[in-house]
C-alpha cells in the first residue's frame, strides 16, 4: 500500500499513482499508535471505512492495521464499537 519511488525511473509520466496512493511516509507523523486487540475485533469494518488514510486491511477474522502511512489520528479507535483499538503513545 502506498508508493515510495527510489529512483527517477520509478516515477510515472505525470503524478498518476495506483488508487489510494500515499507517496510520503506519514507513519512517522504519529504520536499515538492504534493497537488492535484481535480478540475484541468483530470484523465489522467500521474502522476500515473511516480510516482517512485507507491503511486498515480486511482479513477473514479481523482487520489489520498497517503502519507506514498511519498518521495516528485515532479515528479508528473512536469509531470501534467494541473498543478493540487502543491508542498507545509512541515510545
Amino acid at each position: 500500500m502506498g508508493f515510495i519511488p527510489n529512483k527517477l525511473s520509478d516515477l510515472p509520466a505525470g503524478a498518476a499513482f495506483e488508487g489510494g496512493h500515499p507517496t510520503t511516509h506519514t507513519g512517522n507523523w504519529r504520536i499515538f499508535k492504534p493497537v488492535l486487540n484481535k480478540d475484541k475485533c468483530r470484523n465489522c469494518l467500521l474502522c476500515w471505512i473511516f480510516c482517512p488514510e485507507a491503511v486498515i486491511k480486511k482479513g477473514s477474522d479481523n482487520v489489520e492495521i498497517t503502519y507506514d502511512f498511519c498518521k495516528g489520528c485515532g479515528i479508528c479507535a473512536n469509531e470501534c464499537p467494541t473498543k478493540a483499538i487502543e491508542m498507545v503513545k509512541e515510545g
Partner: protein, 394 residues
C-alpha cells in the same frame, strides 16, 4: 497524392486535425480562431470525422475537458486565441504537468486593452512557461502539416507534453492559399494511434494529478523538463519523416534560409518569415549577404540550432511581435541566451514590430537589414531595442 484546395489557415488546421484522427475536440469560440472548430464540427456532423465535439461555456472548461479527455486516452484537440488562451492558463498547467499530449491551435491575436482582435504574439508568448511546446508556422500549408506533426511529437512516450501550434491571426487564419491535403493513408503511416501507458480505467484505478510532498515534486518537474528537451530532436526527426512520407518538410526546428554565408541575419517567427525571405532574395541580388533564421520551435528553445544558424553572422536582428514590458522582446532575450551559452557574442538588435496587427512591410524589413549592415560596419548598435513602424516616439 491528395487533393489541392484553396483554403485559409483555419481550414488547414481543421484538415490537419481530421487527418490526425483526433477523437475529442472541446472548444469555445473566439475570433479569429472560431473557423477552426466550426470546420471541425462540420466534419463531425457530416460524418467525415469520427470524433466527439464537446461544447463548453468557457475556455477554462474547454481546457479542463481536453485534459480529462486526454486522461482517458483519447487523442484530443482544441483551439483558441488571445483572451481565451489566457483564460485557459490554469488548466494548461494541469495538462502539461500531468503530461497529457493535448494539441491546441492558438491563432495569435493581441491582448486587450486597448481592445483589439488583430495579430501579435503577446498571447502565446505570455504562456511561454506553462510547460507547453510551442511551434510557429509561416503558411496555411505549414499549419496543416505541422498540426499533424504536433500529435506525433506530443504523444511520443519520451516527450508526453502538450503542443501549441501558433498561427498568425488573419494573415494566416483568414487568408486563402492553395493547400495540398494529404491522403489519409499517408498520414496513417506517419501517425500511429495514441496508446498511452496509463489512462483512466475502471479495472486499474489511478489517482491522477496526485499530491506530492516536497520529497517528490522537484523530481516530477525535472522529468517534465527532460521530456520537453527531447522534443527538439524528435521534432527534427518527425519533420524529416513527414518529408519522406508526405513530401514536405520545414527545416526541422529552425529553418535556415541562406544563413550559411550571411553577414546579416534576421530571426523571425510566423508569417512574417515569407516577406523576410523575399527581402533576403532582393538584397542578395544587390550583393548584400543577408540571411533569415525562421524559428519554428520556440519551446523547447532550440539553442544549438539557432546558434548554428547565426554563428557566422557579423550582426543579427531579432524580430519580436510581442514585448516583455520593462525589458525587451522575449525571443531576443532567448536568442542572446543561446549565443551566450555557446560562447558567442555577435552584436544584435531587437526589433519590436507589428503589435496589435500593424502591418510589417518589405520596406520595414529592408530597413532592419540596413540597420544590421550599419552595425556590421560600426561593431555595435546605437540602441538595443527599436520599435519599427512607430508613428510617434515623442
Amino acid at each position: 497524392m491528395g487533393k489541392r484546395e484553396f483554403i485559409n489557415g483555419n481550414n488547414a488546421v481543421a484538415y490537419g486535425v481530421k487527418l490526425a484522427r483526433a477523437e475529442i475536440v472541446a472548444a469555445y469560440p473566439i475570433t479569429p480562431q472560431t473557423k477552426i472548430v466550426e470546420q471541425i464540427s462540420e466534419f463531425i456532423s457530416n460524418g467525415e470525422m469520427n470524433a466527439e465535439f464537446i461544447k463548453v461555456e468557457s475556455e477554462h472548461t474547454a481546457m479542463s475537458a481536453c485534459y480529462a479527455a486526454s486522461c482517458t486516452g483519447a487523442r484530443t484537440f482544441t483551439a483558441t486565441s488571445s483572451q481565451g488562451l489566457l483564460y485557459m492558463f490554469e488548466m494548461m498547467q494541469f495538462t502539461s504537468g500531468q503530461r497529457r499530449p493535448v494539441v491546441m491551435a492558438n491563432v495569435n491575436r493581441a491582448i486587450s486593452p486597448p481592445w483589439t482582435i488583430w495579430l501579435d504574439h503577446q498571447d502565446s508568448i505570455s504562456t511561454r512557461d506553462a510547460g507547453w511546446i510551442q511551434i510557429y508556422v509561416e503558411s496555411a500549408q505549414e499549419a496543416l502539416d505541422t498540426t499533424i506533426q504536433c500529435f506525433k511529437v506530443a504523444e511520443n512516450k519520451e516527450v508526453l507534453t502538450p503542443v501549441m501550434i501558433c498561427l498568425d491571426a488573419f494573415v494566416l487564419s483568414h487568408t486563402e492559399e492553395l493547400v495540398d491535403i494529404p491522403e489519409q493513408a499517408e498520414i496513417d503511416r506517419f501517425l500511429p494511434p495514441f496508446e498511452p501507458d496509463y489512462k483512466v480505467d475502471v479495472n486499474r484505478p489511478l489517482t491522477i494529478a496526485a499530491g506530492t510532498a516536497p520529497n517528490l515534486y522537484m523530481e516530477f518537474r525535472f522529468t517534465q523538463q527532460q521530456g520537453m528537451l527531447k522534443a527538439i530532436n524528435l521534432w527534427k526527426k518527425a519533420d524529416e519523416e513527414f518529408g519522406r512520407l508526405v513530401g514536405r518538410s520545414y527545416g526541422g526546428v529552425v529553418e535556415n534560409y541562406k544563413c550559411s554565408d550571411a553577414d546579416v541575419i534576421l530571426v523571425t517567427m510566423g508569417s512574417l518569415s515569407s516577406t523576410a525571405k523575399d527581402v533576403v532574395d532582393s538584397l542578395r541580388e544587390q550583393g548584400t549577404r543577408a540571411g533569415l533564421a525562421k524559428l519554428r520551435l520556440y519551446r523547447p528553445f532550440p539553442e544549438k540550432e539557432i546558434f548554428d544558424a547565426l554563428k557566422s553572422a557579423k550582426a543579427i536582428g531579432v524580430v519580436d511581435r510581442s514585448l516583455s514590458f520593462g525589458f525587451e522582446g522575449s525571443v531576443f532575450s532567448d536568442v542572446k541566451a543561446a549565443l551566450y551559452n555557446n560562447n558567442c557574442c555577435i552584436p544584435g538588435v531587437n526589433f519590436i514590430v507589428g503589435l496589435g496587427g500593424r502591418d510589417v512591410t518589405a520596406d520595414d524589413l529592408k530597413k532592419m537589414y540596413d540597420k544590421l549592415q550599419y552595425i556590421q560596419k560600426n561593431g555595435k548598435a546605437e540602441q538595443t531595442v527599436e520599435f519599427i513602424g512607430l508613428r510617434w516616439s515623442e
